[in-house]
Symmetry: C2
Subunit: 412 residues, 2 copies
């Protein structure tokens, strides 16, 4: 029986096959994300992986349904696996925002699901680091969020040589659009064309923009000017003060396809532009109001960073450490009459915090020792009798004999 | 818009409402589970939350479908949200077992989903600590697994006063059944009756057992004898050698409802028997073969421990620590001309590993200080000028002035 296409199995390393993923690398990345969030004072939240379908259609319109894992449950509810976290966050914040001081700084690491047409290597689920700030309109909040984005990548040993945050402004594009076109209904189509500019042949973009009453040359001129708006300048100055100036640049190619962004927007890319975006986000000041049916109105901004592109980048830059089993002590049981006492020793060492392994059943001494080596144990420990334990450092080959109750202290 | 019934929202503490759950307590429990597994040499794995429906029906028969979140996806595949982890584990192990030395000791913390009829407080999802040992028939493996179960509860400060593992044997019941009844087709129904004994009025059990050709009195006599089989005795002796004798007792009431158990079975309960089972598991030596369509035959055993009952127990025993925001340093910005330098200080302290917060926008000094207190910050730090920083310990009220580059060292 096979797993579903587009879904992943995560195995312990070393990996048994190129077609599976590393549970250890995943935990490594999650740990660094959590740690960066902690340093920035972001608190963790989570919501259900299954939500009412309406939560997603309210935010993104009915066209989103084609990309969702949606169905009708046994209670006749239209439901969907979550395809993004922001609607859930908006729902949760709207429900209880009065209990939290503003700005609210929260993060989550949800697994997200999208039914996309099957392509080679294209997945239907991924994990995403989501960080959001709610209740602050000042660009200082945008800078704080982008700073967290940068530092969560730096925590994985990535540098300014490896990635850059391309900063842009939905506002700037809104101004651009409305000084040239008064048919607001066309705005979203225009933003979509800008969003696709880099992935579309120029002739095609030119045609599309002309249809909307715009000139590709003029659009390119605006992009190439790269003049930061006052808002973007405040963000850039703030990041520069932190010493993060090298990690960010203004780039009006970025506009973010989604309809709901309202202010500064940004995407993180590998410097070589070989991969898809590592992360993306921006301001969505109207979304909490929309999701709460007008009851709660709070400015908000956030980003999402997926685990798949990030993992590709870390692998390409050779930045994933080896993830062996971490065995501190392998207890050798050569005299089976000492097995009960050995079990006691094993248990005491584990209680003292050590990772301990041993042969569950009688085995030849050389086989046990080989297993200790396979597990890359730091030490072996073997009872000489019920009072003394022989501890051997497998790196230095040093050996000491300790009282059985002093073994943990010796190893510490 | 409301979340679906039976699903949970997890908020940062302090909790805004009695109807939501603590993301902090969840992470606390997950951390202790992972830490116990590490000490025992168990490696982490994970699989997809969505699996082919067939994976579950192969293991549990078609009757399971009524309890599943199942649907047909956009590619016409019959799929289901995972209701248990063991089928996925069996699939994953069967696919790549040759790459792993036996016994395989693995764990996972999946979220599981069941569409159960809506009852007060009854959830439709929970998280479950799953630990399994694959490739070892000896009861030493059962003892190792039960020892991990016990120590993962002890890691949460629970003691032998709080919980007990009731150990039983599907083999013993099989023997009991087959010496009295030769109609094997009735075996499962008999096990189900035993499983329900404690939750069913005696008259009803008596009637049911009589129908199957058994006597309730005789069944109770067998249960009350409590004689461990040789297999169970080996497990008890092994656990006693570790010093865990007080945490386990033979109790033939336990039989585990599920069809696929083949040997020792066990359940962990709170000593006062006020709650549902905290954990349950046992041997399932035929399941890997079944799931792999006969290709791989490996003995196996495992347990699952849910987060919901465990959380109830920890709350009842007052064993959950407070989970406040952990702010190491709150940086006060009283002179706005020093904001850029303050941002640098904030960034340096975060880079040194400290959790740092500050007012994103200009605020009155007393308001900033109040926020530092609300966040229970250990220190405040305030630039006197661009060279010196005034660091105040909010507990001792001690204050020092340090060079701006020495602040991190002072705080360490």
């Amino acid at each position: 029986m096979e797993r579903l296409p587009g879904f992943r199995d995560f195995y312990p390393e070393p990996l048994p096959h190129k077609d599976v993923w590393s549970a250890d690398a995943r935990q490594h990345i999650f740990g660094k994300w959590r740690e960066a969030a902690r340093r920035y004072g972001f608190r963790e939240y989570d919501g259900p992986p299954l939500e009412p379908l309406e939560l997603f259609t309210t935010k993104s319109g009915d066209e989103i349904v084609g990309q969702l894992y949606n169905f009708v449950d046994k209670g006749d509810r239209a439901v969907a696996l979550r395809a993004e976290m922001t609607p859930t966050l908006a729902r949760m914040v709207a429900a209880h925002e009065r209990n939290y001081k503003k700005p609210i700084k929260w993060f989550a690491i949800p697994q997200l699901f999208r039914y996309e047409r099957q392509q080679k290597g294209r997945l239907r689920e991924h994990f995403q680091f989501n960080a959001d700030i709610i209740g602050e309109t000042d660009p200082a909040a945008d800078a704080e969020l982008i700073s967290l984005l940068i530092d969560s990548l730096r925590a994985l040993e990535l540098t300014a040589e490896d990635f850059v945050v391309r900063l842009s402004s939905r506002n700037a594009w809104q101004d651009y659009f409305s000084t040239r076109c008064h048919d607001h209904a066309k705005a979203y189509e225009f933003y979509q064309a800008i969003d696709k500019l880099e992935r579309t042949p120029p002739e095609e973009s030119q045609k599309k923009l002309a249809e909307l009453g715009f000139s590709l040359d003029e659009v390119n001129q605006f992009i190439n000017s790269g003049q930061p708006t006052a808002e973007l300048k405040a963000i850039l100055d703030n990041l520069a003060a932190r010493g993060l100036g090298d990690f960010v640049k203004v780039d009006y190619h970025v506009i973010r396809g989604l309809a709901y962004y309202t202010g500064p927007v940004f995407e993180a890319f590998d410097r070589k532009s070989e991969l898809r975006a590592i992360a993306g986000g921006g301001r969505y000041d109207n979304l909490v109001k929309l999701i709460s049916g007008g009851k709660v109105n709070l400015p908000a901004l956030g980003f999402g960073m997926g685990d798949v592109v990030l993992l590709e980048l870390l692998q390409a830059r050779n930045l994933l450490p080896p993830f062996d089993a971490t065995t501190d002590v392998f207890v050798l049981i050569e005299d089976e009459s000492l097995r009960p006492q050995s079990l006691k020793l094993i248990h005491d060492l584990r209680a003292a915090g050590f990772a301990v392994d041993y042969a569950l059943t009688p085995a030849k001494p050389d086989k046990q020792f080989k297993r200790a080596q396979e597990l890359k144990a730091n030490y072996t420990a073997k009872l000489d009798n019920d009072a003394y334990v022989r501890i051997r450092n497998l790196k230095t080959r040093e050996e000491v004999v300790a009282g059985v109750n002093g073994a943990a202290n010796y190893l510490r």
